[in-house]
């Protein structure tokens, strides 16, 4: 992957004076996967920006240690930028941590660090414990431990007496191949035991000084495995005992500390529900049909809920942002037997059909927190993109990949770390800043129309045929919310309708920038020479609210008009679940007659399509839409396991 076009775009945006957009564009280099090259490039380009003006908080981090540390600098910077921090870094001389700590007039203290990382390895601090271990008597081991502890304490005390900076000290990983081999873990004075003791001494030592924290380097190494952690080539060439991957992981851990010190850790996890807290879509599958329980895949969603609950118990606020019927959803949250999360675990929720970005702004107000405290997790790339583009301060994560892996993924996010120190102090001071930012934000959230346009939506309308019968029947049986009349049809019913003169069964398929949603809408019309009756009109709730329903109806209405009909008549039959569709016909210009039905005269102008959706159809159509395209084939309604259609077929003309 080359960054030359991205750099050019950033340059261009800067030249046009839009630093904020240039910065956001630059940071996209760090997604979806973090690489060393991307971090190096971003850190270099950052020199062109006034980071303070962009709202990034400055933080001064010094890196001292017993091995090569320079490569960490661009990584710490880039990861810091992603958390709206602007780290400035000082790197101590090679293995000069002790003299740097002791030299009161030295560069370290002139740098005035906020944080000093002390990355010392046992290999350099206490070589006999690593390399001559088998030759050591127990007394000699103790003496070596005492000496190592004293040297560490000397440096920490020296720093503490000269600087108010927080100190973060690496702990020690026991050698991966202990000298005593399989005996080691069984031996009272094996390396395993000795390193445990060393770390225990370090922990006690840290507790005796103000603001000294331990960075669990041993755990990081265990997390990715020593074989992945240590790259012998880099050690040989540059005395760098960290592989590329280890460098990234370590830099990430350092930034977790920086975030926590800055009070910049995220505080709220705002979750979608469908296909996040349970498998399936509540509105379509019903409370009994969602996947949540003791058997796979329901069990994977329970595990994910457990990970969410762990966050809650640690003090992370939970919120819900979901497009669903609120009453039905709350019933599930209250009483589904397999739910681990209950309404009382959530600080607030927005369960409605509104724009999720607006919902998040509203939640932030309710919780009295800034948007940069929020993490928004959703399985829909459309929703994630909407929030990402409208609210850059929110951290958006798309919940993706297989359900069984998601609990681990959530636990590893590492953006909620807190220290108990001064959290309340920071909150007080921030209250005023929050108010101001809220006002600024309201005016900056981009309009929905702009966003819809950016989705590149395409609607294909076609007629029911043999290959789509099953999907059509499924839609009539399972769609409850955006369904005007809730008439249920079986396969046989639909097959008969398809062959009935005067009856048409329309199917709508939606594609957008993120992919193909498949067949998501169905309408049935019955016509005589003058009037078209809209027997059924429904849309999957997954795609409601983007103008698709309007476009679909506009197509049907315009076709009726072309064919010389005078009037189209629809009904709205209210049920417990279809409140969502109550105003649809009236919004589309239909008027209610004495018989309770909704009428639209077809002798006026053609009905306009929403501008941001292109409609493809099998019939030629002189509507205000761009030139008609040839019929787009409809993929097989039962996709093959790899997610693609099992084959595309031409849809037969009805």
């Amino acid at each position: 992957m080359s960054f030359s076009s991205l750099r050019a775009e950033v340059q261009d945006l800067l030249a046009r004076g839009d630093a904020e957009a240039a910065w956001q564009r630059l940071l996209t280099a760090l997604e979806p996967e973090l690489t060393t090259q991307a971090c190096v490039m971003v850190a270099a380009q950052a020199d062109k920006f006034d980071l303070a003006a962009l709202g990034l908080a400055s933080t001064r981090a010094a890196l001292l240690g017993s091995f090569t540390l320079e490569p960490l600098v661009p990584l710490v910077k880039a990861l810091g930028y992603r958390s709206r921090l602007a780290p400035e870094c000082y790197v101590g001389g090679f293995n000069a941590w002790q003299s740097e700590a002791l030299n009161g007039d030295g560069a370290l203290y002139r740098f005035q660090p906020d944080v000093i990382f002390l990355a010392v390895r046992a290999d350099e601090l206490a070589p006999p414990l690593v390399h001559d271990f088998a030759a050591l008597e127990p007394d000699a081991i103790q003496a070596e431990l005492d000496r190592a502890q004293a040297e560490l304490e000397g440096a920490i005390a020296a720093i503490r007496s000269r600087s108010p900076a927080r100190i973060v000290v690496h702990n020690f990983a026991a050698p991966v191949h202990p000298t005593l081999g399989i005996l080691d873990a069984n031996h009272a004075h094996g390396q395993q035991a000795v390193f445990s003791s060393l770390n225990e001494r370090l922990r006690t030592l840290a507790a005796n000084y103000r603001d000294v924290w331990l960075l669990d380097a041993a755990r990081l190494q265990a997390e990715i495995g020593h074989a992945q952690w240590f790259d012998a080539r880099l050690w040989g060439l540059a005395r760098l005992p960290l592989s590329a991957r280890a460098q990234l992981r370590l830099a990430d851990e350092c930034v977790r500390f920086l975030r926590a010190f800055h009070g910049a850790s995220r505080k709220v996890l705002a979750l979608d529900l469908d296909n996040v807290l349970w498998g399936g879509i509540l509105g379509e599958d019903g409370a009994d049909g969602i996947q949540l329980g003791t058997e796979y895949p329901g069990s994977a969603y329970v595990e994910f809920q457990r990970a969410v609950l762990d966050l809650h118990q640690r003090g992370v606020l939970l919120a819900i942002v979901s497009k669903n019927d609120e009453a039905e959803t709350l019933r599930v949250l209250e009483s589904h037997p397999a739910m681990l999360l209950r309404p009382r675990h959530f600080a607030a929720w927005r369960i409605n059909w509104e724009d999720k970005a607006q919902n998040l702004v509203s939640l932030a107000e309710e919780l009295n927190l800034k948007l940069d405290s929020f993490v928004f997790a959703d399985d829909s790339p459309v929703e994630v993109e909407r929030v990402r583009s409208a609210l850059p301060a929110v951290m958006t994560v798309q919940v993706t990949g297989e359900p069984a892996a998601r609990a681990g993924w959530l636990r590893g996010l590492g953006v909620f770390d807190t220290l108990t120190f001064s959290a309340e102090d920071r909150a007080r001071g921030a209250l005023y800043a929050q108010e101001a930012e809220r006002k600024r934000l309201q005016s900056r959230v981009s309009t929905l129309e702009e966003f819809y346009r950016s989705l590149d939506m395409e609607l294909s309308v076609s007629m029911l045929d043999a290959t789509t019968l099953e999907r059509a029947a499924q839609l009539t049986q399972r769609t409850n919310q955006f369904n005007l009349t809730t008439r249920r049809y079986t396969l046989a019913d639909l097959a008969q309708l398809r062959d009935t003169p005067g009856v048409r069964v329309y199917l709508a398929q939606l594609r957008d920038r993120f992919g193909d949603s498949g067949i998501i809408g169905l309408a049935i019309t019955r016509s005589d020479s003058l009037t078209v009756m809209l027997d059924t009109f429904l849309l999957s709730c997954r795609v409601v609210g983007r103008g698709v329903e309007g476009a679909f109806l506009a197509y049907i209405v315009n076709q009726a008009q072309q064919e010389g009909q005078l009037e189209i008549v629809g009904e709205y039959i209210p049920t417990r679940k279809n409140q969502l569709a109550a105003d649809f016909l009236s919004d589309q210009g239909f008027t209610r007659a004495g018989d309770g039905a909704w009428h639209l005269s077809l002798t006026g102008h053609a009905v306009a399509y929403p501008e941001w959706i292109r409609v493809h159809a099998p019939f030629s159509d002189p509507s205000p839409n761009p030139s008609p395209q040839p019929l787009t084939p409809i993929p097989h309604p039962n996709p093959s396991p790899d997610g693609r259609g099992a084959g595309v077929r031409e849809s037969a003309q009805a």
Binding site: S2, F3, S4, T35, T36, Q37, V40, M41, A44, T68, E70, P71, A232, R233, L234, G236, L237, A238, L240, A244
Partner: protein, 80 residues
């Protein structure tokens, strides 16, 4: 083709335009090509070409021509 891809990786890492990376490009002619960026170069090339370098390979790729030759050497025989 191979040379273009190597140039693209170097361009991103060292922050210079691909056209400025000639056959004699080396740490002496490119300012950002220092000893640590050299390591990042090796790692980036490993990712780009899905190859594995030895320590000697990394130490020996001291100019553009040698870089290309080393990548070539480590590519599977079938690949171009």
């Amino acid at each position: 083709m191979l040379e273009e891809r190597v140039r693209a990786v170097m361009s991103d890492l060292f922050g210079v335009a691909p056209e400025e990376i000639g056959a004699e490009a080396s740490p002496r002619t490119i300012e950002n090509w220092d000893s640590l960026q050299h390591l990042n170069l090796a790692l980036a090339l490993e990712q780009e070409f899905d190859v594995q370098f030895t320590t000697d390979d990394i130490a020996g790729m001291t100019d553009f021509a040698r870089v290309v030759a080393t990548v070539q050497k480590r590519l599977p025989v079938a690949a171009a």
